[in-house]
């Protein structure tokens, strides 16, 4: 939908989207200045679920912060675990055994699939399709059951430790995961693509909506499926490889159309690529311990350390400033959705309200991750 020729800036009213609103995926308030159905100005107002995790990190020891990492992006909590573990292992020079690395990759990728399934369900719900939610949650329930066997939690996982993971996986998990991969692969063409992706109403609703140019991506520091839908091939798993990702053969889906349809297709293809990674990881899983040698009281040497991981939403960075003590001196969390949402104000100008909401859905927002 092209921008109308003339937005009447003097005949506007302010519409508050949220903080309590079904479509904002959390407590996000967007102050919309509207001219009829058109958005003249969009201003996201943050901070409704701000809990100051970065201060909590400074008050406790390094390991005491691990449960906090899951509470930020609860949909891809294992990636947040992984990012924090990675930066502390970098700082303290801890080695992780190979089996633990493989288990980390398997669980993180399963969690990525679960996160994308929920994004898909919520996106369709925003657009008025109520049924896909139930189909996606059917598959998500299988993943959550698998991960519960191994981690003990269904949503907010504190599974990883510095030097490995806290529990080993058993044969039932492996067979369960293989069954799940087969099941999801058979369901994707029918339930997900035939019914929804090729649905003419959905296509008309998200094609050419919310165009984000490459230059806008760079200026706002966006990462993740948002930039991969605009033709930029940037994925931390390939650009700054960590853990054992270099050992797997997987593609990074990139689409050039820059619209919400491109971002949708990127995430659907990422589900398939994650299934590939999990399959390869299960095939190559080595034996061995799942925890490395870690000193009882962790005191990394002083310095500044950074580690980035690829979550379902983009590049998550942890900047750790250590001063030689047993608490982190400063832990800064670089949240991918924080940067992704910052371009909402510029891109939503001139859009219709329903289009702006479809665009917001395609950005895949999780508000607790933005607010920390």
């Amino acid at each position: 939908m092209t921008v109308p020729i003339h937005l009447r800036h003097d005949e506007t009213f302010v519409l508050n989207l949220g903080p309590q609103h079904p479509a904002t995926h959390g407590v996000l308030r967007v102050k919309l200045t509207m001219d009829g159905e058109y958005v003249v100005k969009a201003e996201p107002v943050l901070g409704y679920v701000h809990r100051m995790h970065e201060k909590m990190a400074e008050d406790g020891t390094f390991i005491q912060f691990m449960p906090n990492t899951a509470r930020m992006d609860y949909l891809h909590a294992l990636a947040f675990n992984h990012g924090y573990a990675l930066v502390v292992e970098r700082a303290a020079g801890i080695e992780v055994p190979e089996r633990a690395e493989y288990i980390r990759v398997i669980t993180v990728e399963l969690n990525r699939i679960a996160s994308h399934l929920l994004w898909w369900a919520a996106f369709l719900l925003d657009l008025g399709g109520f049924t896909p939610l139930l189909y996606a949650f059917d598959d998500r329930e299988k993943i959550i059951d698998l991960l519960e066997r191994v981690t003990g939690s269904r949503l907010t996982y504190s599974y990883m430790r510095f030097g490995g993971v806290c529990n080993d996986i058993d044969d039932e998990f492996i067979t369960g995961t293989r069954d799940f991969i087969k099941r999801l692969r058979s369901r994707l063409p029918r339930f997900y693509h035939d019914l929804v992706t090729h649905n003419i109403i959905l296509i008309k609703r998200i094609k050419d909506i919310g165009l984000i140019t490459k230059e806008q991506c760079r200026r706002y520091g966006a990462t993740g499926p948002v930039v991969r839908g605009s033709g930029i091939s940037y994925d931390i798993r390939k650009n700054e490889p960590y853990s054992v990702y270099p050992e797997f053969d997987f593609d990074i889906p990139v689409f050039d159309e820059c619209d919400s349809m491109a971002r949708y297709m990127v995430r659907m293809h990422e589900i398939e690529q994650s299934l590939r990674i999990v399959e390869q990881a299960l095939d190559k899983l080595p034996d061995g311990p799942v925890m490395g040698k870690v000193p009882k009281m962790l005191k990394p040497e002083a310095g500044d350390f950074y580690a980035a991981v690829e979550t379902a939403r983009g590049s998550l960075g942890h900047r750790l400033v250590c001063d030689g003590g047993k608490n982190p001196y400063r832990l800064k969390l670089r949240s991918p959705t924080f940067s992704n949402l910052s371009l909402f104000g510029e891109v939503a100008e001139g859009m219709l309200l329903a289009d702006a909401l479809a665009f917001m859905g395609s950005l895949d927002l999780v508000i607790p991750e933005i607010d920390r």
């Binding site: 159905e37 369709l124 008025g128 109403i201 329903a354």
Partner: protein, 330 residues
């Protein structure tokens, strides 16, 4: 025509019962249908197969406080839900359920039905406006432009049917289609009308879905954008009346489609016509309404209006001209 007071009272009770039961149990049908489409069970706790669920919902709604927010237009706020129910129940008077069952067969019943449909549109507008809530106002503006856009192709296709039958009396239209499915207006095998009448049926069906604000045309109550649209500020029976009015409109839409296009109470092979065939047909149509709602996402407001103004109106105008030409020639 028998004008005894007993006939009037029996029909009054019967129609109110029909309206009430449908409004209540269509909610149950919708929830069960939605559940099965979504691969779950739906209401199953209250009564056998959840059949007491509408009763429980009604009791719950009636026991809630009717909140009237400050800053609303007091009278209009309270009147709007009632105004939404009145046209729906009143329309039942002219629907011919069978050869012998029909409260009143008026000469201009088609006109009456469409006049009452416009009245229910006004109720939506008043409900949204009186709420004093920006979301509600946006929603009623959308609803009005949508209803207006879709009334036009609806009326054009109905004029086609009226031309074929020669009367605006719904009972006459239904009588004209008796004798088997080849006489039904959707097929109408004589004089070449079968070429275009099925298009009229499809146009009319799409317009009924849009007129009753059902998905994929439910912009007015777009849950994820406008919370509950024009019903946001309503609680308790105000909300209940709007919902019941919506379900009754669906019933009226199905009854109208059946009478105009599917032969009313006629059996497909002309054997045992009767009210049961009428009921079977309307419930199949209602099931289709439910099926469509739970399958498709919502369209955009401009695409919705484009569909009406740029596609349905030209089709129905062409249909009208062709039908008129065929009638003139043959």
């Amino acid at each position: 025509m028998d004008t005894s007071i007993w006939r009037a009272l029996i029909y009054l009770a019967g129609l109110l019962a029909f309206a009430g039961l449908n409004a209540a149990y269509l909610g149950w049908c919708e929830r069960k249908g939605a559940a099965r489409i979504q691969r779950r069970i739906g209401p199953c706790e209250a009564g056998w197969a959840g059949l007491a669920q509408p009763l429980c919902d009604g009791l719950k709604l009636m026991s809630k406080q009717l909140l009237v927010p400050e800053g609303v237009d007091g009278i209009i706020f309270r009147v709007a839900p009632v105004l939404a129910m009145i046209p729906a129940i009143t329309s039942l008077v002219v629907i011919p359920f069978s050869d012998n069952i029909g409260a009143r067969a008026m000469e201009l019943s088609v006109l009456l039905l469409f006049a009452l449909a416009s009245l229910s549109m006004i109720a939506v507008l008043l409900g949204g406006w009186a709420s004093g809530n920006k979301y509600a106002i946006i929603s009623s503006a959308r609803a009005v432009s949508q209803n207006l856009a879709y009334e036009i192709p609806m009326l054009l296709t109905v004029i086609t049917v009226v031309m074929l039958s020669g009367s605006m009396n719904l009972r006459e239209i239904a009588l004209d289609q008796q004798g088997g499915f080849w006489h039904w207006n959707i097929f109408r095998l004589e004089h070449g009308h079968f070429l275009t009448m099925w298009i009229a049926f499809i146009v009319f069906f799409i317009c009924s879905v849009a007129e009753t604000n059902r998905a994929p045309f439910d912009m007015a109550e777009a849950e994820s954008e406008l919370v509950a649209g024009f019903m946001t500020e309503y609680s308790s029976m105000g909300f209940g009346l709007f919902m019941m009015g919506e379900y009754l409109n669906i019933v009226i839409g199905a009854c109208l489609t059946t009478t105009l296009f599917l032969g009313g109470w006629d059996c497909p092979f002309g054997l045992t016509p009767g009210v049961w065939w009428f009921l079977i047909k309307i419930y199949i149509l209602i099931f289709t309404f439910i099926w469509i709602r739970w399958t498709y996402p919502r369209t955009q407001i401009y695409r919705l209006l484009n569909l009406s103004w740029k596609i349905l109106i030209p089709f129905s105008l062409a249909n009208l001209l062709i039908t008129a030409a065929l009638i003139k020639v043959f």
